[in-house]
């Protein structure tokens, strides 16, 4: 009797975090693509009319360009990105052993530049960094997201989940208030999505250019009148990690187009 009660208690405790959070079940996960109108979807579907692809092309050029005092190009170590980078972006943010914390794809690119190319890091949200990360992430298009599986990432996923659930800003809203509890409803005429980051970096019509997930998160924080974390802040990395693990199973779409 006591044995079964222990099993019950253990099971309850183990699943409590999942039960308490109103997380979207895997079957109900939907990409932001499904919330858009047909014209915006058409823009994403055709590679020759998707403005994000312009950045992927630029990234392809940068991939082969020698950089830094080591005079090496990405291609010199990684060869043809089509094979070497396939599936990579789908499991980012990933754990970096040396830093003992997760890093985003942008941060990994800059770490490579610093450690292997002896080149200066590219500024966050710069055209070159966006082009490179778009090119790399594009090689994972169609691959199911698998980020957050590494057991070493667990505390950071938890941190990201806490950030997602906590109310913030003058409007006192948590991410989950809209994106878990109210997706499919509308905010000021625009549909609220589930906030699944399947297509980053993406071409946002509002920006009229390509932008990263961090830019979008900072916009959201400004939107609820909270002080946004700086680019590259551990909080943004943890949030991105949580969001990607929350999106597990959805296929990557980079470069996506969103309103």
């Amino acid at each position: 009797m006591r044995f079964w009660r222990t099993i019950m208690v253990v099971t309850l405790v183990a699943t409590a975090p999942v039960l308490l959070a109103s997380e979207i079940t895997p079957a109900a996960r939907r990409s932001g693509y499904t919330f858009m109108g047909p014209d915006t979807r058409a823009m994403q579907d055709d590679d020759t009319s998707n403005p994000g692809m312009l950045f992927v092309l630029d990234g392809e050029t940068l991939w082969g360009k020698k950089a830094g005092s080591a005079g090496k190009a990405c291609a010199d170590c990684h060869g043809d990105a089509r094979s070497s980078m396939k599936g990579v972006a789908a499991h980012y943010p990933a754990f970096d052993k040396a830093l003992a914390r997760p890093v985003t794809l942008d941060q990994r690119i800059n770490l490579c530049r610093a450690n292997h190319q002896q080149a200066t890091p590219l500024p966050y949200e710069s055209r070159d960094l966006l082009a490179l990360s778009a090119f790399v992430a594009h090689q994972s298009r169609g691959v199911a997201i698998s980020a957050g599986d590494d057991p070493q990432l667990k505390p950071f996923v938890e941190q990201g989940r806490d950030l997602f659930m906590q109310r913030e800003g003058q409007l006192n809203l948590a991410c989950s208030n809209c994106h878990d509890d109210n997706f499919d409803k509308r905010l000021a005429g625009a549909p609220i999505t589930q906030a699944q980051p399947t297509g980053y970096p993406l071409y946002r019509l509002e920006w009229q250019t390509l932008g990263s997930l961090e830019r979008r998160l900072r916009s959201c924080m400004n939107g609820v009148r909270a002080q946004a974390y700086d680019y590259g802040a551990p909080e943004l990395v943890a949030l991105e990690l949580y969001l990607m693990s929350r999106a597990r199973g959805l296929p990557m779409e980079t470069p996506a187009v969103r309103p």
Binding site: T40, G189, A190, E206, W207, Q208, S219, N222, G223
Partner: protein, 152 residues
């Protein structure tokens, strides 16, 4: 005095903004629109018909609105479309684009992406090879994006 939701929210958001703020101090007026049209058409009469404007009636984001404009025309050497001119009513400037064809264009149709600052009318005027002018107008609703971005 801000008169549109977009302008009001831009101003409100501008308090916390640094960097570029998209205020719109100028506005096209119906007079500017008519002047721009007369610039192209001169004193000629403009008939309604033949031209088709394909724009989503409710746009997802006014910054990038897909638009297709076309004219039903046989496109032969005797009867073709010389040009299509597109105008708007409320952007700071009345012109959107002018598109030039010839008898070998196959189809008098062009697609592009335009910016619309507010809910407004878009007008397309076609000039045929016989120098007659034909027009069509469409009313487009532009809503404000939920989280317009101040420079962060």
């Amino acid at each position: 005095m801000p008169t549109t939701r977009r302008q009001f929210l831009s101003l409100a958001g501008g308090i916390t903004a640094t960097g570029i703020v998209t205020l719109r101090p100028l506005r096209a007026t119906p007079a500017m629109l008519n002047a721009a049209i007369r610039n192209v058409v001169g004193e000629a009469q403009i008939r309604t018909g033949k031209v088709k404007l394909d724009i989503p009636p409710l746009v997802e984001n006014g910054n990038t609105v897909p638009m297709t404009v076309s004219v039903a025309s046989p496109m032969t050497a005797e009867d073709y479309v010389k040009s299509i001119h597109v105008f708007n009513e409320k952007n700071p400037q009345p012109n959107i684009g002018n598109f030039y064809f010839n008898a070998f264009s196959g189809r008098a149709q062009v697609s592009t992406r335009i910016r619309l600052a507010d809910t407004q009318k878009v007008v397309a005027i076609a000039r045929l090879s016989d120098d007659t002018f034909w027009q069509v107008a469409a009313d487009i609703v532009v809503t404000l994006a939920a989280c317009t971005e101040e420079m962060n």
